[in-house]
């Protein structure tokens, strides 16, 4: 599978310096000052005074990118034993307050162990139990033994959701029997199945994105020779991209939609507005940050152009493309699509999932349907926070839709 590059320009600039408390300098992130940690102090206090932690992992794991190809890998586990599955289910997070998502994620203690990415196919005892845990799909009890007391060093990342205190692992004991779904077992045991194919098979058998990401990042899928640990952030985008490509291949064979359609949804200081035009598959993301001025990042894919990495938007491009393609696949139609994704003051960097989920939610509601492009643009303009001219002027897909003529206009249709 193609190597995913680290960040788009927008991710590197806008997303990384965004925590209103520490202004992105996580070294300044302190338990006693962070308002988001208020509700967690007792819990974290207990964690910080013990070298052993017993809890139910959602399950969740994290593979860092620092030091690649020798990376830190380990499970994320809160010090509680109840149903923790919501902590790893972004599809449920739009309906709970931002503060709760953050405190939920910050209560996840990260156990870590340094490993060469190639060890995934031939894991030691520790990595093996981490992998075993990663295959589960319901919360699984684990006992983590640390070499010292976990310390608060919350990790914020551009694409993945954050986590809480961390410490080096000495021992991991999976205390309950992990429940592994059949398709997962099948994909993991098939060492001749390419990772890209495995991702599609898992997706089609209804395995959640979070779990597919976990399997890929822990080096549990792919042909034997190529199994390796993949940093979580790269895995997220790789999975969005691979499933998107598969859906795109199907969608491109379908008929065009017959009217202009507009969708929009807003949550957690983020808004996603979508315009679909009758036409061949084209996709464009215009990401607008309204934080101390306006910043715009955009990327597109056009018919006939080879795939390239979205240099500006980065992971959000693939995260937004996936729900759009899922929608078109479901309705059996093809369209040219412009997505305006906006972020406002108040957002804290919790990951790329919110664009994916907000986009899904937007597309789940009936569309505003228009017969003229201008009506549709006006409707889209009513949804976006930014004035219409801002995205209209920047859109390559809109310009193309207005100017590119079809051959059918000049050439008669008939048998050769």
């Amino acid at each position: 599978m193609r190597q995913v590059r680290l960040y788009g320009r927008g991710e590197a600039e806008a997303e990384r310096s965004v925590c209103p408390v520490c202004r992105g300098d996580y070294k300044l992130c302190r338990l006693d000052v962070c308002p988001y940690l208020r509700h967690l102090r007792d819990l974290l206090g207990r964690v910080e005074s013990s070298r052993v932690l017993f809890g139910s992992s959602p399950p969740s794991s994290l593979v860092g990118s620092w030091g690649y190809p020798r990376v830190y890998v380990g499970p994320l586990t809160p010090p509680i034993t109840e149903d923790t599955s919501i902590m790893e289910s972004p599809e449920l997070w739009l309906d709970i307050p931002l503060e709760r998502i953050l405190s939920m994620r910050l209560s996840l203690v990260r156990g870590k162990v340094r490993a060469d990415v190639r060890e995934a196919r031939d894991p030691g005892r520790m990595l093996q139990s981490i992998q075993e845990l990663g295959m589960a799909y319901t919360p699984t009890d684990v006992e983590l033994w640390f070499s010292r007391e976990p310390r608060i060093m919350p990790g914020f990342m551009v694409r993945s959701a954050p986590w809480g205190p961390s410490a080096s692992l000495e021992k991991t004991i999976v205390a309950s029997n992990p429940l592994v779904p059949r398709p997962v077992e099948k994909a993991v045991s098939d060492t001749d199945l390419k990772a890209s194919k495995a991702i599609i098979e898992l997706y089609r058998s209804g395995i959640s994105l979070s779990q597919i990401v976990r399997l890929l990042s822990l080096g549990l899928i792919g042909t034997r020779r190529w199994r390796r640990l993949v940093p979580t952030e790269w895995s997220i985008t790789a999975v969005d991209d691979q499933i998107g490509r598969w859906l795109r291949g199907r969608v491109r064979e379908k008929r065009w939609i017959s009217s202009y359609q507009v969708y929009s949804h807003e949550a957690h200081h983020n808004k996603v507005s979508i315009l679909m035009l009758p036409g061949p598959w084209m996709f464009e993301v215009i990401e607008i940050w309204h934080k101390g001025g306006v910043k715009i990042y955009r990327d597109h894919e056009l018919p006939g152009e080879p795939d390239r990495y979205p240099e500006e938007v980065g992971g959000a491009f693939h995260a937004l493309r996936l729900p759009v393609l899922e929608h078109l696949y479901r309705v059996g139609r093809q369209a040219s699509v412009v997505v305006v994704a906006e972020v406002r003051e108040g957002w804290i960097p919790l990951g790329v999932w919110r664009f994916r989920e907000i986009c899904r939610r937007a597309l789940g509601r009936p569309a505003g349907s228009y017969s003229e492009l201008d009506e549709a643009l006006e409707a889209l303009g009513r949804h976006t926070w930014a004035p219409r001219t801002l995205w209209e002027r920047n859109s390559v897909v809109l310009r193309l839709a207005r100017t590119q003529a079809k051959l059918t206009r000049f050439v008669g249709l008939g048998k050769v």
Binding site: P280, P303, G304, L407
Partner: protein
């Protein structure tokens, strides 16, 4: 019904298929006793390829009746990529089994490799008949056009092509600046221009590029035909055959 054709160079056929692949991933060849032909539009309906190879290109040519053969061009390309220099090629298609076999034979005839490709269901679709008339025609050097397109891509994603009685001009304008390539008649790059007026239209650079690049392997000269704000026809003369493309214009300011 069956069809069999032997071509002296597998390499050459591979280049031809690559040129078709610029437009479509899947296509239907119409096979008759005179020729094999493929006319196809890309899924976005912006460009079209018209390819024909007559029986005189082949060393052996047998066809027991008219038939249609639909193949995945990308899969066919994978097989043809295995061809080595100096190898000749035999294509055999059987209408009943719906299988296309590709046989590569080395120069001494000591090695023979056969690949069999399952063909696809032919869907009866109406294909565009490329019968357009043009106001201007220019015969130009393929590499010069390839460079002009590449240069234009530095500033824009589309380029204005003008054919005037004395010159051919490529002009791209972008936020960064402009790029202009002027090819003058009676130079080494323009062999001939037939027009009494100036005609122009805008075209997507990605389409121009993906057509001209593979076709430049096949022909040093190309024929550009154009009318103002109408599609452009790009013809690449190949021995015993035809390789032509149409690209729809971008109508700026509409």
């Amino acid at each position: 019904m069956s069809f069999r054709m032997r071509l002296p160079s597998a390499d050459y056929f591979s280049d031809l298929v690559k040129a078709i692949h610029a437009i479509v991933d899947e296509g239907t060849f119409q096979i008759t006793s005179e020729s094999i032909r493929l006319v196809a539009m890309d899924p976005a309906h912006i460009s079209l390829v018209d390819f024909e190879l007559s029986n005189s290109a082949a060393e052996e040519y047998e066809c027991s009746g008219e038939m249609k053969m639909t193949v995945s061009i990308s899969e066919l390309m994978k097989f043809l990529k295995r061809a080595k220099k100096g190898e000749s090629l035999i294509l055999t298609y059987n209408d009943e089994t719906k299988k296309l076999s590709i046989t590569l034979i080395d120069a001494t005839g000591s090695r023979e490799r056969t690949f069999t490709l399952n063909t696809l269901e032919t869907v009866e679709t109406r294909t565009a008949t490329p019968n357009l008339t043009f106001d201007a025609k220019a015969r130009v050097n393929t590499d010069a056009v390839k460079d002009a397109v590449k240069d234009s891509s530095l500033v824009s994603d589309y380029v204005k092509i003008t054919i005037a009685p004395e010159e051919v001009i490529f002009l791209a304008k972008g936020e960064l600046g402009t790029v202009q390539t002027k090819l003058t008649k009676m130079g080494a790059t323009v062999y001939d221009i037939e027009t009494d007026k100036e005609v122009w239209a805008h075209f997507s650079i990605s389409y121009l590029d993906k057509i001209v690049r593979p076709a430049s392997e096949l022909s040093d000269e190309m024929v550009m035909e154009l009318s103002t704000n109408k599609p452009i026809r790009l013809g690449f003369p190949i021995p015993s055959g035809k390789l032509e493309y149409l690209i729809a214009p971008r109508i700026e300011g509409e």
